[in-house]
């Protein structure tokens, strides 16, 4: 070895070691004082899978469920839906009272101290704008492809509001009355989606003075010219950019809840306690919503970057990963308000147009096995579903089920019985079934394989069809025989109508039963859940007697949160787990 090489080598080692060693010049650190157990953190962070897409979640293009997660904390309504689906009046926001059944009339009163977070009182102009936006009574003069007139306001739905006549009143009133031209079953949860009318007015060239008198006059006078910019702003002016890189001007987005908007960047939204909030103050000063890919939630929770999340599509892998976190995280599982089911094409000359074939199929589908394999690994309490309009997460499920005796006939797999029914139809066995499922879902593929294994023994020949565009195929009767997919339950009384009645929009199989149609016409006219229950029980019974579909199970749901946080719980309703986030706390230790 030459001197030079040795010199190079030694200097390199020395340099490397020196670089490391020289780092040690700082003095000894002092220990941070440990936080005591009764101190609470200033911030709770919630993981969401998609960024909220707008301040106004009620337009026809905003459909992110995560808008609701934020709105729970920023927008108040006259009612609050509990996790079991029951409706509780929200006295802080205001009171309401049904004053007449015929015509159905409801009187609403905003709380005296109810104000937007910019200090403007919440009053009549807000209510009137809500009616104007949702009632579909402001034709723009244009028509859509089908030739139907388009409304100025692009509301997600006019369901219910379309039956309401224009509320009478004056600007500044704290009270308004909704009068329904036809009875509307879900009236109690209708009065939601209040947007700040003074902002909409100001942004549309109207004055917000006098409690929004100009806007009130424009709506009452049906002044299309004045309302056009208002409707445009209502429909598009409150939208966020994709992935929420920033919030709109803070003055445009006042809130009516315990929190108000603070800032947003790169999909992360921060809410802070609303200093103008008149109700029970929020327990934690700020709530941060962080947008994270669904697969990365568990590690983010483990690393303390988020404190809570609800997976939209819980898998058994995720539940296992969460279990590995041990005491650091609390995991709650439950039954979601959505369910998996098999629809039949019972129209025309398809195999399932014969009731006996449908009954035979009902007998051979291994429902308990499907629950054990696909739902129970996530939610150990998963059970076979026997109803469609009521789900196990809802308080009324057991009561209604007691009045649906035919469901019990199909509790067990009965291959012999199925075969006997099939033979009785005179068909040549095996009966071939085209069983469609979404090609993107391995879960559905596995389920169809399991059903095939069972039903082929009963005389069916199930042909699995992996369908890249299932819902288009469903609208083409004759192209399919059976299909497995999910429906979401809404908790509303009347929203299921279009699935079950003759000619209904989502009655893909062309099912038609006079008794079901008659019962639905009664159900939509009731005005309370109590009245609806016996009618729905009868309807459910008929859907078993003359089988509509095979209900499998309520989809399993999960919520997970850091053990430092107290307050969250599993909430299957569309409001999601943040429905009570203003009461959450996070301990520092």
């Amino acid at each position: 070895m030459t001197f030079r090489r040795r010199f190079t080598a030694i200097s390199a080692v020395a340099a490397g070691s020196l670089l490391l060693a020289s780092c040690g010049s700082a003095g000894a650190g002092t220990e941070e004082p440990a936080a005591s157990a009764d101190e609470f953190a200033d911030t709770i962070t919630i993981g969401i899978e998609q960024a909220p897409d707008g301040y106004n979640a009620n337009t026809d293009i905003s459909n992110s469920v995560y808008n609701a997660y934020v709105d729970n904390l920023t927008q108040q309504n006259f009612t609050k839906i509990q996790p079991d689906g029951t409706i509780v009046a929200n006295e802080a926001f205001g009171t309401y009272e049904k004053t007449s059944d015929d015509p159905l009339t409801v009187e609403y009163t905003f709380a005296d101290d109810a104000v937007w977070s910019d200090g403007t009182p919440i009053d009549f102009d807000d209510a009137l704008l809500t009616w104007a936006a949702f009632s579909g009574t402001h034709p723009s003069g244009e028509v859509d492809e089908a030739g139907d007139p388009l409304d100025l306001f692009h509301a997600a739905s006019t369901n219910g509001w379309a039956e309401v006549t224009m509320p009478e009143g004056e600007a500044g009133d704290k009270t308004f009355t909704l009068t329904f031209t036809t009875p509307y079953a879900d009236w109690e949860v209708l009065a939601t989606g209040f947007m700040p009318a003074h902002i909409a007015a100001e942004q549309s060239g109207l004055s917000a003075d006098g409690d929004g008198a100009e806007l009130v006059a424009a709506i009452q006078g049906d002044d299309t010219a004045a309302l056009t910019p208002v409707a445009e702003f209502w429909s598009a002016g409150w939208a966020y950019q994709e992935n929420l890189p920033e919030l709109p001007d803070a003055a445009l987005i006042p809130t009516s809840g315990p929190y108000k908007y603070d800032n947003a960047s790169n999909g992360t939204l921060t809410l802070v306690a609303n200093d103008k909030w008149w109700g029970e103050p929020a327990k934690t000063n700020s709530i941060v919503f962080k947008t994270i890919d669904a697969n990365e939630m568990v590690q983010a929770l483990q690393n303390g970057e988020i404190d809570q999340f609800d997976p939209s599509n819980a898998t058994s892998d995720m539940v296992a990963q969460l279990a590995d976190l041990g005491d650091a995280a609390t995991v709650e599982t439950g039954e979601a308000l959505s369910f998996s089911h098999i629809d039949f094409d019972s129209s025309g000359t398809g195999v399932f147009s014969d009731v006996a074939v449908r009954q035979a199929f009902l007998k051979c589908v291994p429902r308990q096995e499907l629950v054990d394999k696909f739902a129970a690994p996530i939610n150990p309490d998963a059970q076979v579903l026997n109803l469609r309009e009521y789900l196990p997460a809802q308080a009324a499920y057991e009561d209604v089920l007691a009045d649906v005796p035919t469901a019990k006939d199909y509790a067990e797999v009965d291959l012999e019985g199925a075969k006997a029914l099939l033979t009785g139809t005179g068909a040549t066995l095996p009966v071939t079934i085209r069983f469609n499922f979404s090609a993107q879902s391995t879960l559905r593929a596995d389920q169809v394989a399991l059903i095939k294994a069972s039903c082929d023994q009963a005389g069916f020949n199930v042909t699995a069809v992996a369908d890249p565009d299932l819902f288009t195929t469903l609208t083409l009767p004759g192209q399919w025989d059976a299909a497995v997919f999910g429906w979401a339950g809404s908790g509303l009384i009347a929203s299921g109508q279009s699935i079950y009645v003759t000619g209904g929009g989502q009655n893909f199989g062309g099912y038609s039963d006079a008794k079901v149609d008659e019962l639905w016409s009664q159900i939509v006219a009731v005005t309370s859940h109590e009245e609806a229950e016996p009618l729905k029980a009868e309807m459910e019974e008929q859907l078993w007697v003359n089988p509509y579909n095979v209900v499998l199970y309520a989809n399993p749901g999960v919520t997970a949160y850091s053990s430092k946080v107290s307050g969250p719980g599993y909430n299957p309703t569309q409001y999601g787990s943040t429905w009570n986030a203003e009461t959450w706390t996070k301990s520092l230790s």
């Binding site: 020196l18 670089l19 897409d53 994709e242 999909g267 700020s286 962080k290 990365e296 299921g496």
Partner: protein
């Protein structure tokens, strides 16, 4: 040259046009854009379907939609037309601002990773080529192929587990058993031995020295609580700056008597720079990008001045290397300040400063150094994930290219005429070996604009990759086309630039 550029531009225009048409049709045919709404059975189903149909012009056949999109692009090119939006997405929001945000976010994420991977890959490639078939060469070859074949999402998950979650847990109570300190020392010894090589006796000495130094340093650092309150200190900056000054001079100027002034200038810059940094300490707390930039300029000017004064007949080289040393001092100073910001960030993040997702801690409102440390720690994991993979290819290309050049006749001639090894390697071999890399780098930078789809998803960055994947999964053509427009133009542009660069770098090539 001019003819070449014009011809290429015309051809490229038609290539991009044809590829956009193909891309548009493929995206539009890739699924049913109404899928999620058809599955929806809540109130307002029809209104939503109608709104989406109108937004995406689904009533127009696909070729018609493509022409509509071309018109939107046309307004961006033609002056005085409508506002340039690149079309609207399915929620009726203009695409151009989305592209803006995505491009900015991707730049921050991918450029640092690409540059670092390039530097590290080239250096490693050169060293492995110089020591072909040594243990070091074999080790690097092994690691390169290993990294090459790793799936990004898997590496990312492991990085998150070990370098974020576990490291954070360790940092909450930084302790190590003597056994693990000893083991780390041995590993360090082994690495240094492989890197430095030599005969058995020297390997043993190197391993022993490195093991002892590493273990010793760790013990000291742990005992003084350095991992809770890390810092370099002025003394640390001074020592490191001197070492680096020596290194740059030895590498780029050599230590012969003729170039001695370069070494002196560089060392003087290190000392003077450290003094300036020490004097500037009161500025550090209120640092902004403006004062930071001013400080950088002052230090570089200082380096250039010292090089000018001390350089003598090697003035130009001395000025260059002194400036590099001054920049090194800036880097050391920044590292020191970032380390000093660590305790505050540690507290603000609830004791878990290494992040697994996102680009910054929400509502940090920290000082200049705290915010930048936070950004850096958020960038660390994705950068590492991207680097691991592109590093591998750069190493292999550089090594192959170096070996090729080293066997050329002119390198033998250079050696034969008595040039020293440093000059042969740095000036005659390395420069020529970089020419083929120009193509690779050009393509990689075009690729950078496309974002890192998997890395962005895993680490929660909403960049170009996210724009593309979410557009594609929603069957929303306009964001996908905006993405494609940028990447397609970048590809043809950088391809052309690579060809032009070739002509400059290699006089044997003529552009026609």
């Amino acid at each position: 040259m001019f003819v070449f550029v014009v011809r290429r531009a015309v051809v490229s225009f038609f290539i991009v046009l044809a590829s956009t048409a193909l891309m548009y049709v493929l995206v539009a045919l890739s699924g049913n854009p109404l899928k999620d709404l058809l599955e929806y059975n809540g109130p307002g189903r029809e209104a939503r379907i109608a709104a989406r149909t109108a937004a995406l012009n689904l009533d127009v056949p696909i070729p018609g939609r493509y022409v509509l999109w071309l018109q939107e692009v046309g307004t961006c090119v033609a002056p005085g037309g409508d506002e340039c939006t690149l079309g609207l997405d399915r929620k009726l929001r203009p695409v151009l601002p989305q592209l803006d945000v995505a491009l900015g976010s991707t730049m921050r994420l991918v450029i640092a990773a690409t540059v670092l991977a390039l530097l590290l890959g080239v250096v490693t490639g050169v060293v492995t080529a110089l020591r072909q078939y040594s243990t070091f060469d074999y080790s690097v070859t092994f690691i390169a192929f290993l990294c090459f074949s790793l799936p990004v999402f898997w590496v990312s998950t492991l990085l998150k587990q070990y370098i974020a979650i576990d490291l954070n847990t360790w940092l909450q109570d930084p302790q190590m058993t003597y056994a693990s300190i000893g083991l780390l020392g041995l590993v360090a010894g082994l690495i240094w031995t492989i890197v430095i090589g030599g005969d058995a006796r020297r390997r043993l000495v190197v391993a022993a020295v490195a093991a002892a130094a590493t273990s010793g340093t760790l013990i000291v650092l742990l005992n003084v609580g350095w991992f809770r309150r890390p810092a370099l200190g002025i003394a640390g900056i001074a020592v490191s700056a001197l070492v680096l000054a020596f290194l740059w001079s030895a590498l780029f100027a050599g230590l012969r008597p003729r170039t001695r002034p370069v070494l002196y200038a560089s060392l003087a810059t290190a000392v003077a720079g450290t003094i300036v940094v020490a004097l500037a300490q009161p500025l550090m707390a209120e640092m902004t990008w403006l004062t930071f930039g001013a400080l950088v300029l002052v230090l570089i000017a200082l380096g250039l001045g010292i090089g000018y004064l001390v350089g003598g007949h090697t003035r130009r080289l001395a000025m260059q290397i002194s400036a590099v040393t001054a920049v090194s001092v800036v880097v050391l100073m920044s590292v020191d300040q970032l380390m000093r910001a660590y305790p505050a960030l540690f507290k603000a993040t609830g004791g878990r400063p290494m992040a697994t997702t996102g680009s910054q801690t929400a509502n940090l409102n920290g000082t200049f150094w705290e915010s930048n440390l936070d950004l850096g720690l958020h960038l660390a994991l994705p950068t590492l994930a991207i680097m691991l993979i592109s590093f591998a290819s750069y190493t292999r290309y550089t090594r192959a290219s170096m070996l090729d050049v080293m066997n050329q006749d002119y390198v033998r001639t250079a050696r034969a005429k008595g040039l020293n090894e440093r000059t042969v390697v740095v000036r005659h071999t390395f420069r020529n070996a970089l020419i083929p890399l120009a193509t690779l780098v050009a393509f990689d930078f075009a690729g950078v604009l496309g974002g890192a789809v998997v890395t962005e998803t895993v680490f929660g960055w909403s960049g170009m990759g996210k724009l593309f994947t979410s557009g594609l999964s929603n069957i929303d053509p306009n964001p996908v086309m905006a993405f494609f427009l940028v990447t397609a133009v970048a590809t043809v542009l950088f391809n052309m630039l690579a060809d032009i660069a070739y002509a400059y770098l290699d006089p044997r090539i003529r552009l026609r």
